[in-house]
Amino acid sequence: MTFAIPHGQRLPLAIAGLAFVFLGLFLVYPLVNVFGASFLDAEGTAFTFANYTKMLGRPFYRAAVVNTLEIGVAATLITTVLAVPFAFALARLPIPGKSAILAMASLPLILPSFVSAYALVLLLGRSGIVTQWLQAHGIGFGSIYGMGGIVAVYTLTLYPYVLLPTIAAFKAVDVSMEEAAQSLGSSPGRTVWTVTLPIVLPAILAGGLLVFIETLENFGVPFVLAEDMPIFAVEAFKLFIGETAPNPSSAGVLGVLLILTTTLVLLIQRRFLAHRRFATNARQAPPLLKVGAGVQALATVYCWAVVTLALVPFFSIVVLSFMEFRGPVLHPHFSLDNFAFLFDRALRPLANTLMFATAAALAVTLIGVPVGYVVTRYRSGVASLLDVLATLPFAVAGTVLAIGFIVSFNAGALVLTGGPLILVLAYTVRKVPFAVRSASAIVHQIDVSLEEASVSLGRSPLQTFLRIVVPLMLGGILSGMVLSWVTVASELSATIVLYSGPWSTLTVVMFQALESGGAGIATAAASFLIVVSLLPIALLYRLVRRYELS
C-alpha cells in the first residue's frame, strides 16, 4: 500500500532506496568483506584475531602507522601555517593580481599529486637534473626521499584545502564586529587576533582535517618518494599484491586500520565542527585593510611565491616531457619522442582514461545530484543515514576500496574483475561524496517555495525536480561533472589495484614507467594528464563566463 507513505516522502524515499542499493552493493559490501578478511585466517574459513596481533606485532607495520600519522600531522600543520596568512592577505589586503592568484591556487586540487612528487624526483632526486647540476658545481643537499619530500609535496598540493574555505570565512566576517572591537579600544592587530581569527577558526580546522585525511589515504606520493619508509596505503597495496593465500588477511588488517583512522578523524570533524559555525550576517565583504607599502610588498611576494612554487613541479614536467630521455637519463634537446612513444605504446590506456572518466563522471552525477537534493531538502532518519553513507567513501582510501572490490566481485553472482566496469564503479563510489556535497551546496541556494509553487500548479515532485530544480542546478551540475571527470582521469590508488589486461590507464602507464625507469614516457603521460585536466576546466570557465555575460 502506498497509503502508508506520506505523498511528500515518496520521491526522496525512492531516490534514497536506489542510492542505498547502489552504495550497499558497491561500498558497504566490499568494506564488510575487507573487515571480514581481516578477521579470517589465511584460508578464509576460521574466525581469528591472529591477523591483528601478527601485524601489530611487527615493528615494520607499527612504523607504518607512526610514519603515516607523523607525516599527516606535519603536513597538516605546515599547510595551515602556510595557508592562513595567505588567505588573510587575499581576503583583506591589497594584493595585485588577486583573481589570477585564486585561479592558480585552485589548480593543485585538480592536478594529480603524484605527478608533483614525480617531478620532484626528476628535478631533485638522486639522478635529478638539478641535483646533477649542483653536484657538478660541488654543491650537495639533503635527500628528498622519505618524510621531508613527502611532507613538502603534500604541503604544495593540499594547501588549497585550507586556503579556499579560509578565504571565504575571512570574507564572511561581519566588519561591524571588528569595528566594535576597535571602538572598545582594541588595536587592529589585536582585533584580528582576538576577534577575526576565532570567527574563522572552524573553517581553518575543517580545511586542516581534509588535508589530514588526504595524506592518510594518498598512495601515489609515498609510492614515489617513500622508498624504504613504510607507509599505510602503500604497504596495504604491497601486501595485497604479494599475498598468495586465498584470504588477503594482512592487507585487510591494514585496510581496516586505515578506515578506522580516517573515520575517527571525520567523526571528530563532524562532532566538534558541525555546530561551531559562527553565524555572521555580513551583507558585504569586509573592506581591505590599509597597510604600509612594506607589508603590502611582503604579502604580495608571499602569495605569488606560494602559488608559483606549487605549480613549478607541474610546469617542469611539461617542459621535461619535450626533452630527450635515454632511459632515466635526460639530455637537454627538444624532442617529441616521448609523445611519439606514448601514443605508440599507450594509445589504449589513453583511450581508456578518457572513456572511464566520462562514464564515471556521468554515473557520479546521476547519483550525486538526486542524493544531494534529498539530503538537503528532507529531514528524516533515512535522509541522515543516506548522508552518512554518501560521505563514507571519503573515509575509505582508494587502495582499500579496491581491495574490497576484488574480494567481493572476484567470484560469485557478480563477477567484475578483469573488466572495465569494476574501475568505473570504483571511481563512481569514490567521487560520490564530492558530487553530493557540491549538489547539496547548490540546492541550499534554491528557494524551496519555487518547488512548492511548481507542485501547487500541478507538477508532481518528480516532474518538479526535473523541470525546476535541475535547470536551476545546471551550472553547478556541469562544473561538478567536469571536476569528477578531471579527478577520475588522474586517479591512481584504486586503479593500480583494479586494472587488468588491456584495461589500464594513463596513471598506470606512469606508474609502470616509474618502476622501470622509463622517465620519458612517464613525463609525456604526466603532461598529457595535466593538459587533459586543465582543458575542460578552462572550457568550463569560458562557458560559465559567457553564460553569465548573456
Binding site: H7, G8, E452, S454, V455, S456, G458, I468, L472
Partner: protein, 330 residues
C-alpha cells in the same frame, strides 16, 4: 462547487502544537483571512490546505471531496508565495503557462489564456520578459497571474505583500480583492497585519497558539473582540478591569480609544471619568492622549484634529465613554 471545510485539523512539531484542533468552514467565493502573530499557526494551516504539511489528525474537504490525503500537485489550488517564487529559468509567459501545461491544456488555448491573465494583473505585453527584468511588485503580479490562470478551486495567499513597500502594499491589496471578487474564486489569505486583513477580507479567523481565537466579519472582530488577545491584536484598546470604570462586575472590558471623548463634547448619558493628561502624541490627522484617571488606571484616547484645539500635558480633564462600545472580554 462549494467551499472548504476544515475539521479537527491538528499538527505538532516536536512539542509545539502548531495547529490545534481547528474547525473552520470557508464559503464558496469568500475572501477569508487567517490572521495572527508569527508562530500562531496560520501559515501551517495554509500549508496543510496546500498539501505541503501533512495533518496529524483531522480532515480537510473541498465541498464533499476529502483532499487532505491527496498529493499537493493534484489538489487544484493556486498559491501565491511571500517571496513570489517566480521561476527564474522561465519567461513571464512561461511562468504563467506552467500550470496550464501541467494540466495538459491544448497549446492553442494556452497563449490567449496567458495573455488574458497577464492583462488581469496589468502586465499585458510583458510575456516575453525575463523575471530578473521585473520589479518586486511586478513579480508578485506574475505570481498572482500564474496562480489564477489555472482557475483553481481555491487561491492561497501566504503573506503576499510583506516584501513590498508600504505604498504598493496598500494598492495591491485592493487589487487582489477586486480580482478575487470578479473571478469568484474562493481565497484564503494569510497575514500578520490586522489592517491588511480588515481591508481585504469578507471574514477573518484570528489565530493564537495554534487555535482559533475568534472568527467573524472584520467589523465584528474589531468592535466585539471575544478575548483580551483579540481586543489587543486588532488595534489599540484600553483593556481594563471593569472596576476601573466604576462598574461592579468582576470582568475585563475593552474600550477602544475612539469611544472616549472629553465630557463637554459627549452626550449626557455617557459615564464620566475624571483624570489628567499624562502623555500626548500629535500625529497629524489625529492626536493620541494618555489620560490618568483618579483611580490610577491610564486610558488611551484619540482626538481628530480640529482648529483651535489645545490639549497640554498635565491638563485636568473629564472623560466620557460610549457605554454601547464597551466589550466584555474573556
Amino acid at each position: 462547487m462549494s467551499g472548504i471545510v476544515i475539521a479537527g485539523a491538528s499538527r505538532t512539531f516536536g512539542t509545539v502544537r502548531a495547529v490545534d484542533r481547528v474547525d473552520l468552514t470557508v464559503e464558496q467565493g469568500e475572501f477569508f483571512t487567517l490572521l495572527g502573530p508569527s508562530g500562531c499557526g496560520k501559515t501551517t494551516l495554509l500549508r496543510m490546505i496546500a498539501g505541503f504539511t501533512p495533518l496529524d489528525a483531522g480532515e480537510i474537504r473541498f465541498g464533499e471531496r476529502r483532499i487532505d490525503r491527496l498529493p499537493a500537485h493534484v489538489r487544484d489550488i493556486g498559491m501565491v508565495f511571500q517571496n513570489y517564487a517566480v521561476f527564474p529559468t522561465l519567461s513571464v509567459a512561461g511562468n504563467v503557462a506552467y500550470g496550464l501545461k501541467a494540466r495538459r491544456v491544448p497549446a492553442a488555448e494556452i497563449g490567449p489564456r496567458v495573455e488574458e491573465a497577464l492583462a488581469m494583473v496589468q502586465l499585458a505585453g510583458y510575456g516575453g520578459r525575463q523575471p530578473h527584468e521585473l520589479s518586486g511588485g511586478q513579480l508578485q503580479r506574475v505570481a498572482i497571474a500564474r496562480a489564477l490562470v489555472i482557475r483553481p478551486h481555491v487561491l492561497l495567499f501566504d503573506e503576499p505583500l510583506s516584501n513590498l513597500d508600504a505604498r504598493l502594499r496598500v494598492s495591491m491589496r485592493s487589487e487582489i480583492r477586486a480580482l478575487q471578487k470578479s473571478l469568484g474564486i474562493t481565497a484564503i489569505y494569510v497575514t500578520h497585519d490586522q489592517e491588511e486583513a480588515m481591508s481585504v477580507s469578507d471574514r477573518i479567523a484570528l489565530m493564537n497558539h495554534g487555535r482559533l481565537e475568534q472568527v467573524g466579519v472584520p467589523e465584528e472582530i474589531y468592535r466585539k473582540p471575544a478575548t483580551r488577545f483579540a481586543a489587543e491584536f486588532m488595534g489599540t484598546t484600553n483593556l481594563v478591569e471593569a472596576r476601573a470604570l466604576g462598574l461592579a462586575a468582576p470582568v475585563w472590558v475593552s474600550l477602544r480609544p475612539e469611544a472616549l471623548r472629553f465630557a463637554e463634547e459627549a452626550p449626557v448619558g455617557w459615564p464620566r471619568l475624571p483624570g489628567a493628561v499624562v502623555a500626548l502624541e500629535m500625529l497629524g490627522p489625529i492626536t493620541r492622549l494618555d489620560v490618568k484617571l483618579e483611580n490610577g488606571s491610564v486610558m488611551k484616547m484619540v482626538l481628530l484634529d480640529a482648529p483651535g484645539q489645545i490639549v497640554r500635558e498635565g491638563q485636568v480633564v473629564t472623560l466620557a465613554y460610549d457605554p454601547s462600545r464597551l466589550t466584555v472580554v474573556s
